[in-house]
Structures are given as structure tokens and as C-alpha cells.
């Protein structure tokens, strides 16, 4: 059973398709439990890029491995927005880490993560990603020391510099992220309340249907209609359950994922601020010295300027991309929610309509028998 739909990447001109298969259906070995194991996911990767020798790859990875990849990406491409992973820590006893639903939800999120990375014009070329997708065994302790130039330098940003003036567009980004994060939190809370109310409604509704059933037992003529009503109520219950399940499995995880995404983005913004602050600090110091004893502006300062400009450019590009993807994702999410709700009502409506047909048939039967008697 394949979960993620294959997507071509029109923007970068590559044809990198990643599919993730259900671990339980394709597993040859059972997932190995360990101190912090979660699931093992099998991926099949089809690529037509020249860098890879073989057309098909299939590797097994654990959540840990995804985490490793993400950390490596962050380290090596600190000026870029790295997509988030689903939550790492799950409270034991609250969620069953081996339940099908949990695995499914996680797998979808991991799939999205990989797709987003593969979609990114810069990240997709990252050697760590390559290793992740192809290496038989990820030897993480080796720590491929393949940092990009900028990455290397950003890593060693000196702290202690204070930012003077943040460019307006980055302020705007920060504000937007804050507002958006708040909204997401609100939606999450509302959705959870809805789930609670729906579950209580469901309980009452079940009891309601049961009363009709027992009533049907003591009636003659009305037995079938009453059982019909009980049946409709039961159908409604089932449909409502599906709706609630969908909300908790498909809707809420995406919201939470975006909250994590926003957090990591804010980190990147902070780093950018630091880089800029360092540059400004050094520049100021250098200018002062120049004024004192005519020492030329050191190369370092120019390098810092480069850093800042690179960072800003990368960030801006990523921001555009992020906005696009976000719009897409939320459009999909919300229309999905609308569809599921419509689905729910359609199912209920169909059940009640068939009941009416049954009841009205009986009516016309009675009427014709009455007129016959008369």
C-alpha cells in the first residue's frame, strides 16, 4: 500500500519521486525495538538523476535516522528553512506507538518531510540526503564533514552582538510567523474541543438509537419503521466516528507540524539576526580603527557582509517557497476537512432518505388497503 502520491518537481526540473510503503505490509523483518525506537519505514525511490547509479532504491530507516538527517541539514544549510519532522517524543501510555493509526500518521508526516526536502532546489542536492536515501547503513558516527562554505562560517557565528535595525521584510516575516502560530494554536484548541463534544454527542446518540430498537420490540405494525429509525441513527453514529477519526488523524497532525515548522523558521530568523549583528559590530569596530590608524577594513568584515547577503537571499527565496507551499497545504487541509464533513452529511442524508421511502411505501400500502375495504 503506497501512501504518498508521487509528484514531479516542475520547479527544479528533476524527476525525483519518493514513495513510502506501509511498513507492516512490506516488512520482511519485524521492527526492532530499542531504547528510543519508533518505526521503521521502507522507502522506494525512483530517480532519473545522473548522480545515482541504480534506478531504484529501497532502504529501511528509523525515526532516529530522519532526525539525524534533519540535524545534518540544519547544520549544513543553516540559511535555509528545513521542513519539520513529526513530534519526536510521545508519552508512553498515552499513545500506542505501535498502533496502526499512530504509525500511519507518522509515516505520512515523514513522507511529507522527505518530499519537501527533495523538492527544495538546494537541499535536494545535499550529500546527507544522498546518504540517507542510498547508504545501506547510515553510519552516523562517521559524521560526513561536508559542510558548505556558508554553512561552515555561519556555524561559528560569534555571539554577543546586538542587532541595530532589522530590515523591514524580516520584521514582517517574524510578525507573520507569530500571528500565524497563534492562529494555528487557536484552531488546534477548537478542533480538540470539537472532538470532545462530538464524542459526547456520539455517546448520547448511541443510547438514543438503542431506545428505538427496544421500542421496536414491543410494536407490531411499527416494528420495521422503528427499527429503520434505529438503523439510521446507527449509520449516523458510524459516519460521525469516521469524521472524528479523520480529524484527529489527518487534520490535527498537520496543524501541529506547521507549529513545529514555524518554530524552526523563527530559529533561522534569529540566526540571521545574529549574522547581521556580527557583521554590523565588526564593521563598526573596523571603521573606528580605520579612522584612528588607517588600518584597512579586514577581509573578515567583507566575508561577514557576504554572509549576511547570502543568508538574506536564501531566506527570502525560501520564504517565498514556504508561503506557496503553506498556501497549498492549507488549502488542501481545509478543503479536505470540508469534504469529510460533506461526506458525513451525505451519508446521514442517504440513510434517512431510504427510511422515508420505506415509511411512505407502508403508508400507500395502508391507504390502498383502506380504500379496498371501503
Amino acid at each position: 500500500m503506497s501512501v504518498g502520491a508521487p509528484r514531479g518537481l516542475a520547479s527544479s526540473g528533476q524527476k525525483l519521486i519518493t514513495e513510502m510503503l506501509h511498513p507492516l505490509s512490506a516488512a520482511e523483518e519485524p521492527p526492532s525495538p530499542g531504547p528510543d525506537v519508533t518505526v521503521s519505514a521502507e522507502e522506494k525511490e525512483k530517480t532519473s538523476r545522473i548522480e545515482f547509479d541504480l534506478p531504484d532504491y529501497s532502504v529501511r530507516r528509523r525515526y532516529q535516522d530522519f532526525d539525524w538527517l534533519r540535524i545534518k541539514l540544519e547544520d549544513s544549510q543553516p540559511t535555509h528553512l528545513i521542513p519539520p519532522l513529526p513530534e519526536k517524543f510521545v508519552m508512553k501510555g498515552v499513545v500506542d506507538r505501535f498502533s496502526e493509526e499512530f504509525v500511519e500518521t507518522r509515516m505520512k508526516a515523514l513522507d511529507k518531510f522527505l518530499k519537501r526536502v527533495a523538492d527544495h532546489p538546494v537541499l535536494s542536492f545535499n550529500p546527507h540526503l544522498n546518504a540517507f536515501l542510498t547508504a545501506k547503513d547510515l553510519n552516523k558516527r562517521q559524521g560526513l564533514a561536508l559542510l558548505t562554505k556558508v554553512g561552515e562560517s555561519v556555524k561559528h557565528v560569534a555571539g554577543g552582538y546586538k542587532l541595530r535595525a532589522r530590515p523591514a521584510e524580516f520584521c514582517a516575516m517574524g510578525e507573520y510567523l507569530d500571528t500565524f502560530s497563534q492562529k494555528l494554536g487557536t484552531i488546534d484548541r477548537i478542533a480538540q474541543r470539537i472532538l470532545r463534544e462530538q464524542s459526547e454527542y456520539l455517546t448520547e446518540l448511541r443510547e438514543y438509537g438503542a431506545v428505538y430498537s427496544s421500542w421496536a420490540g414491543s410494536e407490531e405494525q411499527l416494528q420495521r419503521p422503528l427499527e429503520g429509525v434505529a438503523g439510521c441513527v446507527t449509520t449516523s453514529c458510524g459516519a460521525l466516528e469516521d469524521l472524528s477519526d479523520n480529524m484527529s488523524q489527518d487534520f490535527l497532525p498537520v496543524l501541529r507540524e506547521y507549529v513545529l515548522y514555524i518554530e524552526s523558521m523563527k530559529n533561522v530568523l534569529r540566526k540571521r539576526d545574529q549574522v547581521q549583528a556580527e557583521y554590523e559590530g565588526r564593521l563598526e569596530a573596523a571603521v573606528l580603527r580605520k579612522q584612528e590608524d588607517r588600518t584597512p577594513i579586514p577581509v573578515e568584515v567583507e566575508k561577514c557582509q557576504d554572509k549576511v547577503e547570502c543568508f538574506n537571499a536564501d531566506l527570502k527565496a525560501d520564504w517565498e517557497r514556504w508561503q506557496r507551499n503553506k498556501r497549498q497545504d492549507f488549502k488542501q487541509l481545509l478543503t479536505g476537512m470540508a469534504d469529510k464533513n460533506i461526506n458525513y452529511y451525505e451519508k446521514c442524508q442517504a440513510a434517512w432518505e431510504s427510511l422515508i421511502t420505506l415509511l411512505q411505501e407502508k403508508q400507500t400500502e395502508d391507504k390502498t388497503s383502506e380504500t379496498e375495504l371501503n
Binding site: T186, V229, C232, K331, L334, Q349, L355, Q360
Partner: protein
């Protein structure tokens, strides 16, 4: 099914013929009654049109506010083309007068299942509706219930011919006196008191026993149903209320959409249809039958006792202990004449007893026949009414689903424009 007209002020989309307003669903039930076509209904149309508030002094001379209901009657002839329908005759009645009428009917026609009145106090409160008797929703439900009551009585083959009922509809002033003059209140004491007494009938008619069980089950089920229905409605309201919060997050327009959805749910009237079927009145017929049966058995017992006494006197054997018997044993036998006169008196008494028994038997037979006919009529009516109610309920559910689909489709359109 009736087609809904788009001119109605209620928010129901007219798409296909499963859309119906609450007024029309009530009319469907009324139609099933009117179809019966009693003489009375052939003559006049009856409706409870309005409600109004009055203030006055009550029995303890305190000022009180109460509600009165306007009863309209108009001749049932169809109006000629271009003609104006004649103005209806009207009078005002309050709830207690309806109660009085019903008590009168209960006592006067013990073998008939008398239609119920709407609740005296709001019992199955939905969505924290105030249990205040002056609350407009409650008054409206009552109005409908009172109208149903009148129509049911008017469509009953026996009850519709009752003069007191006719006067109730036509004579505002002198009605109370007329009812009291029938002297039914004397019977009220004996008959209604015994209704609440526990009887042990020796040979109950199996049909009545079965009926009694059925009506017990039915009233339990229905009160359960009503309670849960109120809870379900509350929960559903809760779900929709939370949904409305989404409106705050998304945009102004969405807020409107979700609020609309809410008001639709809230304004859907409570299922009066199901409320109507508290078949508590069902039980009173069975109790009445038990009463008659009891009287019958008492008479039979009386007769048996008398017969045994006669036998004892005739044969001189003491079968039944009696003081007379003991004293005669202790203080000597009676003379032959005395004994013969006693026997003669006893024989007469026995004859009277047998006549009484015959009479009671006939009475019981008649009661059973009449009651059973009425029960059959009631069963049929009940089945029809319930089926109509279920259809209306299903229609309401469908209407709600359609609304839901509409709201979410609009939302989807909004999302697509993102």
C-alpha cells in the same frame, strides 16, 4: 408528501419534496384525524389560533397572570369562488378549563381512551428552555397540543357527539355551570379514586393484561426517548457552538456561515410530534376495566356466599362459621317456621344476587366490547400518527443534513479561493 412552498418564512430550501415545514408536518397528523370524518368535523373546522395573557384574582384572592387560548370554529362548507370565508366564532379558554373538560370525558366515557392534554409544566426541557409557563416557546407548544386535543376528541366516533364538548367549543360563559350540572363530579370521587387503588382481579381478561403491559412498556420507552432526545439536542448544539469559533479565526464571512448554521439548529422546534405520544392515558382504560371486573367478581362472590348459607340452613350443617350459627348451637335450635322463613328470605336474597350478577356480567361484557372497539381504533390511529411523526422526523433530519452540506460547500468554495 406535501410540497413545501417557497413563500414560507422558515429557512428551508425547496429542492425536492422531502422538505417540509413544521406547520405542515403538524397538518399531516391532523389530516389523519380529520380523514375519519365524524359528524362534528363535517360541520365545523376547529382550531386553537392564538394565546394571550390575562390577569385576574385566583381562588385565594391573589393576583395572578395566566394564559388564555383562542378557540376558533367555523363552518366546514367550502367557500364559493370569489367569496370571503365567514368570520369564525371565537372564545377564550384557559388550560384549567381544558383539564375540566377532560376529567368530565374521563368519567363519562370510561371505556374510551381519552386523548391527552399537553404537559401542565414543561417537563422535557430542551436546551435549558425555561420551565416558565409564560415562556413563549412553551405557550406555543401548548397551543399546538391543545389544538390536537380538540381535534382528536372531535374526530372520535363517540366523544364527538357529546354535548358538553360541543358547548365547550361554542359557549364561553355558561359552560362551567353546564359541566358541573352533569353531576360527573360525584362519579369522579368513586371512579377516579379507585383508579389509583391497587386491585387484585382474580380472572383478568388476558387481552387487557397484555394491553396493560404494552402501555407500561410504551410509556417507559417514550419518556426514555424524550429524555435522551433532549440530551442529544443539547450535545449537538454544543458541537455547533464550538464550530462557530472557527469563524473568529478564519474571517468575517465564515463567521456568518457558521452562525447561520447555529441559528438553524436552535430554531428547529422540539419534536412536538414525539412529545405528543406520552401514552400515559392508555393506562386509564385498563384500570377501568379492572374496576368493572372487580365489581363483577364481588357480586359473584356475594352470590356464592349466599348460596352456601342457604345450603347450610337447609342441611343444618355448619359450613361457614357465623355467630348466628354458633349461638343457635349453644342456645338451641330454631323452630321449623323460623328456619323456613329464613330460607325463604335467603332464597329471595339469592335471587336478587343472581339478578345482580347477571346485570354485572352484561355490564362487563358491554364494557369490554366497547372498550375493545375503542382500543382497536386507538391502535390504528396511534400507528398512523406515529408513522407520520417518524416521517416528519426523518424529513427534519434530511433538512439538517442538506443545510450542513450547504454550509460546508460554501466553506469549501472559500477555501478554494485561498
Amino acid at each position: 408528501m406535501i410540497m413545501a412552498d417557497s413563500g414560507s418564512s422558515e429557512e428551508v430550501a425547496v429542492i425536492c419534496n422531502t422538505d417540509i415545514t413544521s406547520t405542515e408536518s403538524e397538518n399531516n397528523i391532523i389530516n389523519t384525524m380529520v380523514e375519519r370524518g365524524t359528524a362534528l368535523l363535517k360541520k365545523m373546522e376547529i382550531s386553537v389560533a392564538e394565546a394571550d395573557k390575562r390577569t385576574g384574582k385566583n381562588t385565594v384572592n391573589m393576583q395572578e397572570t395566566y394564559t388564555v387560548y383562542l378557540i376558533e370554529t367555523r363552518p366546514a362548507e367550502t367557500v364559493s369562488e370569489g367569496g370571503v370565508p365567514p368570520a369564525p366564532d371565537t372564545l377564550w379558554r384557559r388550560y384549567s378549563e381544558f383539564e375540566l373538560l377532560r376529567t368530565y370525558l374521563l368519567v363519562t366515557y370510561p371505556y374510551v381512551i381519552i386523548p391527552p392534554l399537553p404537559e401542565k409544566r414543561a417537563e422535557f426541557v430542551w436546551h435549558k428552555l425555561s420551565a416558565d409557563n409564560l415562556d413563549p416557546d412553551f405557550v406555543e407548544r401548548r397551543r399546538v397540543g391543545l389544538e390536537n386535543f380538540l381535534l382528536r376528541v372531535a374526530s372520535h366516533p363517540v366523544l364527538s357527539n357529546d354535548n358538553i364538548f360541543f358547548l365547550f367549543l361554542t359557549e364561553e360563559k355558561g359552560w362551567r355551570e353546564a359541566v358541573l350540572e352533569t353531576g360527573f363530579q360525584d362519579k369522579v370521587d368513586s371512579r377516579l379514586k379507585s383508579l389509583s387503588a391497587m386491585f387484585r382481579v382474580k380472572n383478568p381478561d388476558k387481552r387487557f393484561t397484555a394491553l396493560k403491559h404494552y402501555s407500561d412498556d410504551l410509556s417507559t420507552v417514550i419518556s426514555q426517548l424524550l429524555r435522551i432526545r433532549a440530551r442529544v439536542a443539547d450535545r449537538l448544539y454544543g458541537v455547533y457552538k464550538v464550530h462557530a469559533n472557527y469563524g473568529r479565526v478564519f474571517s468575517f464571512m465564515m463567521l456568518i456561515i457558521f452562525l447561520k448554521k447555529l441559528t438553524f439548529i436552535v430554531s428547529t422546534p422540539v419534536d412536538n410530534l414525539l412529545l405528543d405520544f406520552g401514552c400515559f392515558y392508555h393506562q386509564s382504560v385498563c384500570k377501568k376495566h379492572e374496576l368493572v371486573q372487580y365489581e363483577l367478581e364481588m357480586a359473584a362472590q356475594d352470590l356464592t356466599y349466599k348460596k352456601q348459607q342457604k345450603e347450610e340452613l337447609a342441611t343444618g350443617t355448619v359450613r361457614i362459621f357465623s355467630l348466628k350459627g354458633m349461638t343457635s348451637k349453644l342456645f338451641g335450635q330454631e323452630t321449623q317456621e323460623q328456619r323456613e322463613s329464613k330460607v325463604a328470605a335467603l332464597e329471595q336474597s339469592i335471587q336478587e344476587g343472581e339478578d345482580a350478577l347477571k346485570e354485572k356480567n352484561a355490564e362487563s361484557q358491554e364494557f369490554v366490547e366497547k372498550a375493545w372497539t375503542d382500543i382497536e381504533r386507538f391502535k390504528e390511529q396511534k400507528d398512523k400518527d406515529l408513522r407520520e411523526a417518524l416521517i416528519s422526523y426523518a424529513i427534519m433530519q434530511i433538512s439538517m443534513c442538506k443545510k450542513g452540506i450547504q454550509v460546508w460547500s460554501n466553506a469549501k468554495e472559500c477555501f478554494n479561493k485561498m
